[in-house]
Structures are given as C-alpha cells and as structure tokens.
C-alpha cells in the first residue's frame, strides 16, 4: 500500500492525501430523449452537491428512493458524466484522469452484476484480470475472502445464479475488495438482504476499513445502517445535500434524540417515502 501511495503523490501536484474524494458543486440532470415518443420532464437527480470524504473514513449517504444516491455514485465511478462541477479522487480528476481514477476505485451496486451462468470463481478471476491481478495471485486471495464471508468453498464453482441474493452480494463485495481499491463505493450494499446477511455484510464492511487502508463511501436508505457504519453521514434530499455530520453531531445540531427525527426535520418527510413520487421539486 505504501508504495502505491508514493506512486500516487509523484503525479499529483496539489493532492492532499488525507482526502480520498472531493466533490465540488456536482450537478446531473437527466433529460428525456428527444425524437419518437418523446415526453416526460427533465429530472435534477443531483443538484449542486459538494462533499469531502476523508481517507480511512466510512461516509454514509442517506436518502430516500430517488434522492440521487446512485446517480452520485455513478458520477464518482466514471459511469456517468456530470453536467457541472468537479470531482477529484486522491487528487485525480475523474474526467481528465479517468484511467488513473478507475485503478483506485471499485463500486458495488444494488444488483449484483455478475455473469449469472459463470461461477463465483470464474467471475472473480475475470475481475482480477481486469485489474491486473493474475489468476495465480487471485485464487488464494479469493478463497481467503470467501472464507471470511462465510461462503462454503464447495459452492465457488457453482453458477452464480444458484446462490442466494445475500451470498451474491457478499461475493460482489469480495470482488471489489480483491482489487484492493483505495476508495470503495458501495451503493446500498444491504438492500434486499435478510437481517442476518445484512449484519454479516455490515460487519465485513467495518472489518475492511479497520484492517485495511480502505476508504468507504456507502449509500443507504436505512437509518440504523447509517448510524451503525458511518463515521459521517450526508443526507441527500431531491438531489441536494441538506445536512452533514456524524450521527451525534446531527442530533445535537437539530436538538433531537434520533437520526430519524433529524431526517424528518431536514427533509420534511419520512425516509420510506420516495423522492420520486412526492412534490416533484426534483423535476424541472
């Protein structure tokens, strides 16, 4: 790791290595397609968001469905180009230094994006190759990670579609971890999991941060999860970052006893109400 960091500094002039991610006034508007059957309105999915994730931190983005969490994560992972604003990851600009950024990050999405018919091992070996980890190096690492995730080693050669959602999600996290990212982007890593798998994934995320030099940005629409995992929480509402701080700071600032009340105060609604259906303030 130390070597990687030094390499990183050499090419970056003004980089502050205590900062993993710095986003400045990021905006993303989705416009309906023109032409045949055009209709609908433009959606301001991310609206002027600025945030900083410190190195080694777990930053939790909390927001209702449709509040722009996934869009923001996609911008950070170079899958979407922002309309305005600037994002730097360990000092690299995500647009100008795209390849360098890609080497430093990995992302886990809500839906486990695997080749369904390939086995966990095949999927992970492929992932390793894409990030320059040779199969011989990857194989023992994969076994170790899967063992820690409590996955029966006999199942690694079964087609992935035969494994449960929870198991697939764990393997998705294992895959991200295999490439030793400096910044891990987790988009609702526990959504749709049963309580037990949820806890296992949460523990794994914590361990990752504690034992390795990883910085984690995760999104969630689960208040408990944000409180349990995140060192700092940002609340996203209709594409805007409306509050930011540690759970206790947020409670103190708003004079309430729970994160739930903070959420109600800053957004004017409950977390399980979708941003898509209400008000329409997110559209223009």
């Amino acid at each position: 790791m130390a070597i990687e960091i030094r390499e990183t500094t050499r090419d970056q002039t003004r980089a502050d290595l205590r900062i993993a991610l710095e986003a400045c006034a990021v905006r993303k508007i989705f416009r309906p397609a023109r032409g045949l059957g055009a209709g609908g309105v433009a959606v301001r999915a991310v609206d002027d968001v600025s945030l900083t994730v410190r190195r080694g931190e777990i930053y939790g983005l909390l927001g209702a469905n449709g509040s722009g969490k996934s869009t923001l994560i996609r911008v950070f992972s170079t899958l979407l180009t922002a309309d305005a604003g600037e994002v730097r990851i360990f000092g690299y600009d995500i647009v100008r230094d795209e390849l360098a950024v890609k080497r430093l990050i990995n992302r886990v999405s809500v839906e486990a994006s695997f080749f369904k018919k390939l086995s966990a091992m095949e999927n992970l070996i492929y992932a390793g190759r894409l990030y320059g980890v040779a199969p011989d190096e990857a194989r023992p690492k994969i076994r170790e990670i899967l063992r820690r995730l409590g996955i029966d080693p006999r199942r690694v050669s079964e087609p992935l579609e035969k494994l449960s959602r929870g198991m697939q999600q764990k393997i998705a996290i294992a895959r991200a971890f295999l490439t030793s990212p400096m910044l891990l982007l987790l988009d609702e890593p526990t959504t749709g999991l049963d309580i037990r798998s949820k806890r296992e994934v949460q523990t794994f995320v914590r361990d990752l941060r504690d034992e390795h030099d990883a910085t984690i940005l995760l999104t969630t629409h689960d208040l408990d999860e944000a409180a349990r995992l995140a060192d700092r929480i940002g609340i996203l509402h209709q594409g805007r970052l409306v509050a930011e701080g540690s759970a206790s700071e947020l409670c103190a600032r708003h004079g309430t006893g729970s994160l739930e009340e903070v959420f109600m105060t800053v957004t004017g609604r409950r977390l399980d109400e979708s941003d898509d259906t209400g008000g329409g303030a997110g559209t223009e």
Binding site: K28, F30, R31, A33, S70, T71, R74, S77, T78, L79, L80, T81, L99, K102, R103, I105, N106, R107, S109, V110, E111, S113, F114, F115, K116, K117, L118, E122, I125, Y126, A127, R129, L130, Y131, G132, A134, P159, D187, E188
Partner: protein, 277 residues
Amino acid sequence: MATIGGQLGLAYAFVEREVALSKRYWAWELVWLVYGVVTSLSVAYIGLAAPTIAGGVADPAAVSRFVLYLLVGTITWRFLGLIFEQMGETIAWERWEGTIEYTFMAPVPRLTHLVGMCGATLVRALGFSVAILAAVTLFVPVDLSHADIAAALVLLATGAVAFIGLAIGSAVFPLLWTEKGLQMAYIVQAVVLLVSGVYYPTSVLPVWMQALSVVSPATYVIRGMRAALLDGADVAAVWPDLWPALLVGAISIPVGLRVFLWAERHAKRTGRLKRSG
C-alpha cells in the same frame, strides 16, 4: 501496465471470459452449430437438385461447381456473420447480463477491451466455420482439387479484419438506443447479406442495390473466395478483390473505434449506459 504485454494480458481477460461463457451456454452453442450445418447443407442440396428443379439435364461437373459456388457463399457468410453478430452484441449482451457497468468501470482502455472481444470472436467464428465445413463434407461431395487454399485463407483473414470495423460500428447502436439498438444492428446485417452476393452474383441485383454491394466488404471477400476455391486463383489473381476489402478494414476499424468512443461518452452523459438501481 502501459506495455503491450500488459494490455494483451488485459485483452485476454475477455477471451477467457467468452470461452467460459460458451461452455456454460453450450446448449445454445449447439443450437447455432446445428443451425449453421443445416443451413449450409440445405443450400448444398439445392445445388445438387438444380437440374431436377429446373427441369433439365446438366453436366455433373457443372453441378459440382454450382454446389461449391453455393457452399463457399454460405460458409464464408457464416464466418463473417458470426463476427458481426458477436461483436455487435458486445454491448447488448453485457447489458442483458447486468455486467455492463462493471466492465466499463474497469481500468481497461476501450481499445484493449475491443481487441480482446475481437480475439474471442475470431476464435469462435473460426471454430464454427471449420466444424460446419467438416460436417457438410460428410454429406456432400466437395471438390477442392482446383482450389488455392492459401489465397482463400488470406481472403478470409482480410474479410475478418474488414468486418471487425463494421461490427464495432454496429455495436454502437445499443449504446445509443437502449431499447431498439440491437434490432437495428440485425437489420444492417440482413441488408449486408442481401447485397453482398452470398448466393448469387451481384450483377442480378437492381442497380441501386449494386451500389450498396460496392461498399460491403463481404462482396469482395466472397467473390475472391470463389475465384480461389473454384478456379484456383492465387493471391495475385484475387488482388482486385483483396484490396477493396483491405481498404474497408483500414477505414472502418479506426472510424468504428472513434464512433464507439464517441457513443460511450454520449451514453455516459445521457445516462444510457444503464439505468436502474
């Protein structure tokens, strides 16, 4: 990582992945293989039955030539078509699997990604074509005694190169139009089949279709293949059909790549790469 060796290693990831996928989807591969063999065999039988169908008697040498004429067309087309389909489906397939964002997020230059996919595609197309040819020769006598195999192989390699550029270009459709893009790519392929003289000389086509056949590299490759396999034309003799195919490749590969990169940027700006989650 910037070295050629490193990039080839990255490209190999795609070859290995496609081979693994072929094994897991073996039943479908079997379907395509049977389909290919049956199509080629049927066409060969049309050739054998031509005198009966047309109601005349024909000299056996002429019939045998006719059968080979049709077979060269159908098998060469299968080879080129497989390249076109698999490359054209690069995007659509990964979108269907749900892996597209993972692949596009990986630190792999797009050129390396596409080179890897081309490698995988060529391996598969070659395997299929050889298997179909072998199966057909079991049922139909194929007379290759006058053939210039070297010239045929050069033409086939050139055709592959020429088709890769077009196929990369057609892979762009699903990037731009998430719903109907793949259908558009198939229509392009069907039109290429019609105008390239796969089963007949292009001279029988209406003049406006002949204009299209001039720009299809398949026209030259198939005509050259016939000259090489039916009449034993050597590389020098098929040159008039070789250079246009080379030219199409030399133009279409860089242009196809440019268009692909442009479409990728467009998809990332408009949120077309994938939407959901």
